[in-house]
């Protein structure tokens, strides 16, 4: 089957009434978690994991993927109207989005970013369609040492690019790997760190880790606090003028390219692509002095980069089986529930599923464009839900969600334990995304690490004597040295007055 046939087949899957409904539900939930404070993309996806048990594979993955890219659309609304970025990648949108809102151009900023996000996403889906199959064929030539090295590269990049201490970042990788080791050893089945508990033998559930470290701990940190109502800009005119669109066209295309290239790198952080796009626009712009004061290119480029990045980050997942973020790690978990292993074999073993998900990205982004252009005022109303009440609902739904995965009350106690640990780790500025990624990749890193050592007769030097794995590990070391050790200032420092989100 050639690529075009495969894609058309994917559209046949994505356009069935039930999958359209799942895409719509995913987009709505994604927008909701993007708009609401305290619930991130990862927590939103994790909360709906129980649903995937009763859904068909394509519907389940399409719904979770729609939440993943829908959240970015929601995040830009608070960035532009309230100067509050929901996720780190939306920080850049505040630089010019909020000044535009203060000038009475909030509606223009929202509609232009909806259009540029849509264009960025669609162009990236086209690029994925062309690149995914050849890349998956290439990936089949990689052996255990290369896979192990690639996963190490992903973890190193996450640590190097996050605006936190290197020691703390690597410690979180160690902790994530340790939590992943709790349970039966993946090769021989020996019990490790279970303290004699049969409940721990099957390992620590991903949902307890995600909701503990991201969802519930955020609620606990602000427990009992009523957020003072922030100032919110009014939306007046929504339809952009022709000049707005022509001014943002170049920025959209450049942002899409930047986002796509960064998204292909396993472990890359989306915020890097949005910052890179912003810096590029400022450099190539005819009036750089306008940036920071409401330049439309300053919101168009980064938003296109953000969407393009998110779509492109599916490429390492589909071709190598490596999730680049905590949110994509949840998608891996959903694939496992459906009995599908993400990786190069997906394109031959589950073509309907993988191409259906790719096609659904086009469909989902059409839905999101509709939800974000004419219906943007509806989302603004949702911002008025009190954060403390929402927090209570998050805890209650997390408890039910976690119980429903394994029917285990012990998992709820684990949620409490991880939430408490996460509260302290967050207060002490430990970065949590590396922990979750290391937890998700832990078993696979260990399996490939052990396979490599068995194949090489116990010689660990095989990692550096095989050219591809040596190159990948060298890139990992260079990335950490270049980004963290030599440059002691944080990489992703937002300008003064902008709060960095917790994750």
């Amino acid at each position: 089957m050639n690529t075009l046939d495969a894609l058309l087949n994917g559209f046949a899957v994505a356009l069935t009434p039930e999958n359209l409904l799942f895409a719509l539900i995913g987009c709505l939930v994604g927008m909701l978690v993007g708009v609401l404070p305290g619930i991130g993309q990862s927590a939103g996806m994790a909360l709906l994991i129980p649903l995937t048990y009763v859904l068909p594979p394509a519907g389940a993955i399409i719904m979770l993927a729609s939440i993943f890219y829908g959240a970015a659309y929601g995040g830009r609304i608070t960035s532009i109207l309230m100067n509050i970025p929901g996720e780190s990648e939306s920080v850049v949108t505040t630089f010019d989005g909020y000044p535009m809102a203060k000038q009475g151009r909030a509606g223009i900023a929202l509609s232009v970013t909806a259009i540029t996000s849509f264009v960025g996403a669609i162009l990236s889906v086209l690029a994925i369609t062309v690149a995914a199959l050849p890349l998956s064929r290439l990936a089949r030539h990689l052996g255990p040492p290369e896979y192990c090295a690639l996963m190490v590269l992903g973890l190193c990049l996450v640590v190097a690019l996050i605006d936190k201490s290197l020691i703390k970042g690597v410690l979180m990788i160690g902790l994530g790997l340790f939590i992943a080791q709790i349970g039966a050893d993946p090769v021989q089945g020996s019990a490790r760190f279970t303290f004699g508990s049969a409940d721990l033998l099957s390992g620590i559930p991903l949902l307890a880790v995600i909701m503990g470290f991201f969802g519930v701990s955020d609620v606990l940190l602000t427990a009992g606090r009523r957020h003072a109502p922030g100032t919110m800009a009014k939306i007046e005119r929504l339809t952009p003028a022709r000049k707005d669109l022509t001014d943002s066209a170049g920025a959209t295309l450049r942002g899409t390219l930047i986002g796509f290239v960064f998204g292909l790198i396993p472990g890359m952080v989306a915020a890097v692509s949005t910052f890179a796009s912003y810096v590029t626009e400022k450099r190539v712009g005819k009036r750089p002095q306008e940036f920071g004061h409401g330049a439309i290119q300053g919101v168009a480029g980064p938003e296109a980069a953000n969407k393009s990045f998110e779509i492109a980050s599916f490429v390492p997942l589909f071709t190598l089986g490596i999730p680049g973020s905590a949110a994509l790690a949840i998608l891996v978990s959903a694939f496992s529930i459906q009995g599908v292993t993400p990786g190069p074999s997906m394109f031959t073993e589950s073509p309907d599923l993988v191409w259906g998900v790719i096609a659904s990205m086009v469909v989902g982004n059409f839905i999101l464009l509709i939800l974000n252009f004419p219906l943007v005022r509806m989302w603004v109303q949702i911002l008025r839900v009190p954060a403390d009440v929402l927090g209570v609902v998050v805890i209650a739904v997390s408890v039910v969600g976690i119980y429903s995965v394994n029917n285990s009350l012990v998992d709820i106690l684990l949620l409490c334990l991880f939430s408490l640990i996460a509260v302290f780790l967050k207060l002490l500025q430990f970065p949590l995304p590396p922990l979750v990624l290391a937890f998700v990749l832990g078993e696979r890193i260990e399996s490939s690490f052990r396979q490599t050592l068995v194949l090489s007769g116990g010689d660990p030097l095989t990692f550096v004597t095989r050219p591809i794995s040596a190159t990948i590990l060298a890139i990992a070391v260079i990335a950490v040295v270049a980004l963290k050790v030599r440059r002691r200032k944080p990489v992703l420092v937002p300008p003064q007055g902008v709060d960095t989100p917790a994750h």
Binding site: P50, V54, K164, S165, L166, I167, K168, V170, L171, G174, L175, L177, F178, Q181, D185, V187, Q188, S190, R192, F193, L220, L221, T222, A223, G224, R225, R226, V389, G391, V392, V393, I395, A396, V397, V399, V400, Y403, S404, L409, I412, C416, S419, L420, V423, F424, L425, K426, L427, L428, Q429, F430, F449, R450, L453, V454, G458, R488, K489, T500, A502
Partner: protein, 210 residues
């Protein structure tokens, strides 16, 4: 990162030491690093108990050994760096210009590696620890009560408790949110998703079992 944000002692404006937040942050960070050191050592010890090598060449203890060394090693480095930073954060009794310059010169190499409490919205002194503890106790109480009351009733009571005691809301909105959550669980998870929710051991509540 400015000098003020990292709490370097003494400045011409009369600031003679780190703030309470910075001091608590630094001390808690030291405790965390020590805990990581202890955890790492415990993992290493256990890894040898699991056998690091076997007939295949690599045993179940090998990977725990690697992660244990990573955690213990970085915990040790973190402890040393934080101890040196705590010395740098110590208040200067008389903030003479010479003392300030000397202390800054000492502190500079040790401070950039670490984040400061100024980087986040929440800190040890702003978190409402009583409500955090209440929330966790309520969830643990829920786990204990599930076999007695059944899942749906226990969850409704948990939500009510969280609304009243943690969110500090009035009884009417709390009851409404609790009933809404209970209904969502009953119909959504119990009936629609067919999740086997534990039933109650109390006869008069059995009508709530799914």
């Amino acid at each position: 990162m400015t000098d003020q944000s990292i709490g370097v002692a003494g400045d011409p404006a009369g600031h003679t030491g780190p703030s309470e937040d910075e001091r608590v942050f630094a001390q808690a960070d030291l405790v965390a690093m020590l805990l990581f050191l202890v955890l790492g050592i415990a993992i290493i010890v256990r890894a040898f108990g699991l056998r690091v090598t076997n007939a295949l060449g690599v045993g179940p203890g090998m990977f725990p050994l690697v992660s244990g060394i990573l955690i213990a090693g970085l915990g040790l480095i973190g402890t040393v760096v934080r101890l040196r930073q705590l010395r740098a954060l110590a208040p200067v009794p008389e903030a003479t210009p010479a003392a300030v310059t000397e202390q800054r010169a000492y502190a500079e190499p040790h401070i950039e590696e670490y984040d400061s409490p100024a980087d986040i919205d929440e800190s040890f002194t702003t978190v409402n620890w009583v409500r955090v503890a209440l929330a966790l106790v309520l969830v643990v109480a829920f786990v204990v009560l599930v076999p007695v009351l059944g899942f749906v009733t226990a969850l409704t009571l948990l939500t009510l408790g969280l609304m009243v005691l943690v969110a500090g809301r009035g009884w009417l909105p709390s009851v409404l949110v609790a009933l809404g959550t209970g209904a969502l669980t009953y119909y959504g998870f119990g009936l629609f998703l067919n999740v086997q929710l534990p039933s109650t051991s109390l006869i008069f509540l059995t009508w709530l079992d799914t």
